[in-house]
């Protein structure tokens, strides 16, 4: 399954739509598995942020897949998109069943999620991001990396080999796009 990720990634980049879907599914289960593994590890003495999880996933898969594995920037682009899906699914499930869900999120971070955005809004952001992804993919990716995964502008800039300023501008543009779409919904 994992060795397939790099070939799926290449296929997705050539515009192969089923490959893109398979890639999403594969990364989803991989990140899910990693998160569960990390959570099951007794007494892991650091918090496991989305950023950490993505780094871990990259190291893990790159390690297994060898030198042909896509570079970190490309990997993060896809994985961040998947992470968004994980987080939104999680918020949804939490909403549905109050407790439990995909991961066992406990107080601190759950509060963060809930204080930041309610789950309906989160899901809506996800949809609008998908839309933005088809219009201007680079903008959607910045939101995935920054908002959902917690990377800093500096980290994103380094990852994509652009200036921090460009990242920041993309972030502002993406925010305008999302805000406009979402507040348009709300005013309906």
């Amino acid at each position: 399954m994992c060795s397939a990720i790099s070939s799926l990634m290449f296929a997705a980049e050539r515009g192969d739509r089923p490959a893109a879907e398979a890639l999403f599914a594969a990364l989803y289960s991989e990140l899910h598995r990693l998160a569960k593994r990390e959570l099951a590890r007794p007494g892991v003495p650091v918090s496991l942020s989305a950023t950490t999880l993505l780094h871990e996933a990259y190291l893990d898969m790159a390690g297994r897949d060898g030198p042909s594995f896509p570079d970190q920037a490309r990997f993060m682009g896809y994985a961040a998109r998947v992470m968004r899906g994980l987080i939104i699914d999680h918020a949804r499930e939490r909403h549905a069943q109050k407790r439990g869900g995909l991961f066992e999120l406990t107080s601190l971070d759950t509060d963060d999620v809930e204080n930041a955005v309610d789950q309906g809004e989160l899901a809506r952001i996800g949809e609008v991001l998908d839309e933005l992804g088809s219009v201007e993919p680079a903008l959607a990716e910045v939101v995935d990396l920054k908002f959902f995964c917690g990377f800093s502008f500096g980290e994103i800039a380094a990852m994509r080999n652009v200036s921090e300023r460009t990242v920041q501008r993309n972030w502002e543009k993406a925010r305008i796009y999302l805000h406009r779409k979402i507040s348009a919904d709300l005013s309906l």
């Binding site: 998160a35 990390e38 959570l39 590890r41 007794p42 007494g43 892991v44 003495p45 650091v46 918090s47 496991l48 942020s49 989305a50 950023t51 950490t52 999880l53 993505l54 780094h55 871990e56 190291l59 987080i87 991961f103 999120l105 406990t106 107080s107 601190l108 971070d109 759950t110 963060d112 999620v113 204080n115 930041a116 955005v117 952001i125 088809s134 219009v135 201007e136 920054k146 908002f147 959902f148 917690g150 800093s152 500096g154 980290e155 380094a158 921090e164 300023r165 501008r169 502002e172 543009k173 925010r175 305008i176 796009y177 999302l178 805000h179 406009r180 779409k181 507040s183 348009a184 005013s187």
Partner: protein
């Protein structure tokens, strides 16, 4: 508000880029110009930019960072002696937790810094270790101290740092309304800390107010050597790029020196620049690059190109910032004019020199900067000013001679004091460096294990010994290039085999490590290998070679604090070897030496303290120093629980030895409880391994003494079977003896006799003929003969046991604990034979011996039995008063040590004429 279609967005997007790059002021004109050509586009952009303003105001999407599992869940977890309380920071590098010591020895809050898992195994780990080793080099009152370092049970490296609850220096100065002089004095402490780092060839590189805290006592504490740089001995290649990319915080632009921005080499002058910025900020309340720097690009330009405004001019500037300059001056308890006058001259010159763009033109060292500030404070001429005659003259007039003389004296006193601290610091530093070397080693071990457990392990369950076999194979194949590392890993694997009771396999590896280490010059590895081999050999009872190896190992170690921990390791093994060879006092002496080193070492971990206490306790117990032994056992026990190590093999070892000591001094009930813990840990516990034969046998012995005979028989039998299946001759013999004694107590005399006959040839084979164990054998035979009614034979054996016991005592002092038992045994037989006077005499002699060896006011079943023996003999002689008194004392001791329901306790109570407690 119509939403934009994808096409509309595509069209507007490049213009949005342009607009966002402009400042708010510039945008208006730009939009107007655009509107002339494309009014539609300009309108859309205006709407979008308005929306941007709204969303920025609302902080739209600014709260994100969905953590997955909770970091709050870690609160309350323990890490060695520290309990995590709450997270206090999280950065690119990892997280920092507030924690406190939980061993109750002293209360102290600390900061525990973890590396981010994502960075483990990458450059980040190296950086993390480096922060530790950098801090380890620094011991200074104004630098947050490195308290401890370690690797968590999950392999997570962590640093334990002094926790500084305090304010950023700039806020502190403002809150306290400190004047220029007080601020300068405080700043001098910062300089002292940085100078200390520089003298250790360390550049901080990230000096800024948030890294300079003032604690509750008003003391400066410099923090965060996370990106500090070692000026030598460190591979520079790529380090800088790694820092920038991975951390995203390699420097703080506001405090960065031009060379940091342009990528030129970083030197101590880089810190001088940052200190210049800090001083400028403290004294003027403003940043040298000016107020309202809009973008990082502007800031970079200012850092590289623009000379800062003179401090005295900045604070005087009225105009748009008039209010702020007044407020700034007020926080310095002065007015803008007076502040400007204060700064004009020396302070202007000093700051300007520190902030020179060209590193060469700055102060050559932090000390030079500090010297000038000192001179300023003492109204002496500063070095940064051209040394003209008039200048010196004005200074001379203002200078107060007495003050100068006093200052000179103080400087001298400080110098003298410093020599002392420097020496101490050097020692501490070496020891810490050493500790980090150890940390690195343990990480290599962890890495190897991780490799074996994850990537290399087949998908099936495997035992620890499978794992060790694989480890040995992997090590022999893959690490042959690095001889030192290979020897180290072989030794480590070999030692782990030993603790898995596979002594022979382990010994082969350790012998290999030893042979290979002979070609190495690293004294630590050489000594460790010698002593590790000695340890293996002592388990094989090759005590002569073991002793020679211990001495070789100790000789290899120079008397240098860096080798303190190696010395401790060798002394511990040496103590064990000496004790096995029967040199109990030497065993104690070696452990006492080890304990002294551990107490003096700043890097001794609680784990090391615990195992030292445990070994010292065992040594004391061996040499009959019972109360010392019990104190050390209790100490080891409390350290063990504070470490959270209650379920490890070490605790099995501790509980077993502790229980044996309690048993030997006659506190049988307590002994049984503690041995039970050892037993529970080994039977079907987490290891899945069955209990060791030795522990089963020890437990059987305690049960027998408590008159739980059926259970005792069962455990003794299990011990015997296990020892036989493991070809463990020592424990096979011991369990045979125990089974015989249980049989005697069960009055199965024929069976007991057979068991002893099976045992005796083995004893003759392994023990010297005069060993006190033969006295004990005779005593057991005497009891069998007594049980079978052959009084003459019983007396003959009893005499033999007392004679053998006396002879053994005269020769080497061994078996002292058992001797009163032989006397009491004979007394009972004499009593049964009607020889009342000898019975009383033996009982009295036994009682005197036991009393001499028992702590006053400490209950003991041995003492109880001595009184009971005397009571019985006296009673038979018709001395009922004496008998009752002795029986009363017997009852008291036996009740506490064996329980109220024990037949001997009941017998004592009856003899004492006491009424039954419960009918």
């Amino acid at each position: 508000m119509p939403t934009l279609s994808p096409d509309e967005w595509q069209a507007v997007s490049p213009y949005l880029d342009q607009a966002l790059a402009l400042s708010e002021d510039e945008r208006g004109a730009w939009l107007d110009a655009l509107g002339e050509h494309s009014p539609m586009l300009a309108r859309q952009l205006t709407e979008l930019l308005d929306e941007h303003r709204v969303l920025v105001q609302a902080g739209f999407l600014e709260k994100g960072h969905f953590g997955l599992p909770s970091s709050a869940g870690l609160a309350g977890q323990t890490l060695g002696p520290y309990t995590l309380i709450s997270p206090i920071g999280q950065g690119g590098m990892g997280s920092v937790w507030l924690a406190e010591r939980n061993d109750g020895r002293f209360e102290r809050k600390v900061a525990v810094k973890f590396i981010h898992i994502a960075l483990m195994g990458k450059g980040g780990e190296a950086r993390f270790k480096r922060e530790g080793s950098i801090l380890g080099r620094l011991a200074h009152p104004h630098i947050a101290e490195l308290v401890d370092a370690g690797v968590s049970p999950t392999g997570q490296p962590y640093l334990v740092l002094e926790y500084v609850a305090g304010e950023h220096i700039d806020r502190y100065c403002d809150q306290q309304n400190l004047d220029v002089e007080a601020r300068t004095r405080l700043f001098l402490d910062v300089l002292a800390a940085v100078a200390h780092a520089h003298s250790n060839l360390i550049v901080h590189r990230d000096l800024k107010p948030s890294n300079v805290l003032i604690n509750k006592d008003g003391k400066v504490k410099l923090l965060d050597f996370g990106i500090a740089k070692l000026l030598e001995g460190e591979g520079e290649d790529g380090a800088a790029t790694l820092l920038t990319v991975e951390g995203g915080r390699a420097m703080t632009p506001e405090y960065a020196a031009p060379e940091q921005v342009t990528g030129a080499p970083v030197t101590t002058a880089t810190d001088v620049y940052a200190l210049g910025v800090l001083l400028y900020l403290l004294l003027t309340g403003q940043h040298p690059a000016g107020i309202g720097l809009r973008s990082p690009a502007d800031l970079v330009k200012a850092i590289v190109d623009t000379d800062p405004t003179r401090p005295s001019d900045v604070v005087a500037t009225a105009g748009p910032n008039g209010e702020q300059t007044t407020a700034n001056a007020a926080r310095r308890t002065t007015t803008p004019d007076k502040l400007s006058r204060l700064l004009r001259g020396d302070l202007d010159t000093i700051m300007t020199k520190a902030l020179k763009k060209n590193p060469q033109e700055r102060y050559g060292s932090v000390t030079a900067l500090a010297d000038d500030l000192q001179r300023y404070l003492h109204h002496e001429p500063i070095s940064a000013r051209p040394d003209t005659l008039t200048y010196r003259a004005t200074k001379f007039v203002r200078r107060n001679r007495a003050v100068v003389a006093l200052a000179a004296l103080t400087v001298f006193a400080i110098l003298v004091g410093l020599m002392g601290t420097l020496l101490q610091a050097r020692t501490a530093r070496m020891q810490r460096d050493f500790a980090f070397q150890q940390l690195k080693r343990s990480q290599e071990h962890d890495e190897l294990l991780n490799f074996l457990l994850s990537d290399a392990a087949p998908r099936k369950t495997f035992s620890v010994s499978d794992l060790l076999t694989r480890a040995a194979q992997v090590t022999e194949k893959h690490h042959s290039a690095d001889a030192l590392r290979r020897a180290d890993l072989l030794m480590w694997i070999g030692e782990n085999y030993s603790s898995e009771d596979q002594i022979a396999q382990g010994r082969v590896l350790v012998e290999k490590a030893y042979q290979e280490s002979r070609a190495l010059s690293d004294r630590s590895i050489r000594a460790r290998a010698s002593c590790a081999l000695a340890d293996c050999l002592s388990q094989d009872e090759d005590l002569v070679r073991a002793e020679a190896l211990v001495q070789e190992g100790l000789r290899d170690l120079p008397d240098d604090p860096r080798y303190a921990l190696d010395r401790v390791a060798c002394l511990r093994i040496g103590s064990d070897v000496a004790r096995q060879a029967g040199h109990a006092k030497e065993g104690v002496a070696r452990m006492q030496a080890a304990r002294r080193i551990v107490e003096q070492s700043p890097v001794a971990t609680d784990l090391l303290k615990m195992s030292t206490a445990l070994d010292l306790a065992t040594a004391y117990a061996d040499s009959g120093q019972n109360s010392e032994a019990l104190t050390e056992f209790a100490q080891a026990g409390s350290l063990l629980s504070s470490l959270g190590w209650e379920e490890t093999e070490t605790s099995v070892h501790l509980f077993n030895n502790w229980a044996l000591e309690l048993d030997q001094i006659g506190r049988t009930l307590e002994a049984e409880q503690i041995e039970r813990r050892a037993l529970d840990l080994t039977s079907g516990g987490n290891s899945g391994e069955a209990s060791t034969a030795m522990i089963l046998n020890n437990y059987a012995k305690m049960l027998r003494k408590l008159n739980r005979l059926d259970e005792a028989a069962d455990y003794a039998q299990r011990s015997y079977e296990k020892a036989q299946s493991e070809h463990n001759q020592l424990v096979t013999g011991q369990s045979l003896l125990e089974r015989a004694r249980v049989a005697i107590s069960q009055q199965k005399f024929t069976q007991a006799s057979e068991l002893l006959s099976e045992l005796e040839p083995q004893m003759r084979k392994h023990l010297p003929p005069a060993h006190y164990a033969f006295a004990s054998l005779a005593a057991d035979r005497a009891r069998i003969a007594l049980g079978e009614g052959d009084l003459a034979l019983a007396l003959q054996f009893a005499d033999q046991s007392v004679a053998l016991g006396e002879a053994a005592l005269k020769r080497g002092g061994q078996g002292a604990f058992a001797f009163p038992g032989f006397l009491l045994n004979r007394s009972a037989i004499e009593l049964a034979s009607g020889s009342l006077a000898p019975a009383v005499a033996d009982a009295n002699r036994a009682l005197d011996l036991v009393k001499a060896n028992t702590q006053p006011h400490s209950p003991s079943s041995t003492l109880g039995y001595a009184y009971l023996g005397l009571a019985r003999a006296s009673d038979a002689q018709g001395q009922h008063g004496d008998a009752r008194a002795a029986a009363g004392l017997a009852f008291e001791n036996l009740q506490k040590c064996l329980g109220a329901d024990h037949p001997d306790t009941l017998a004592a109570r009856q003899l004492a004429g006491l009424a039954p407690v419960h009918p």
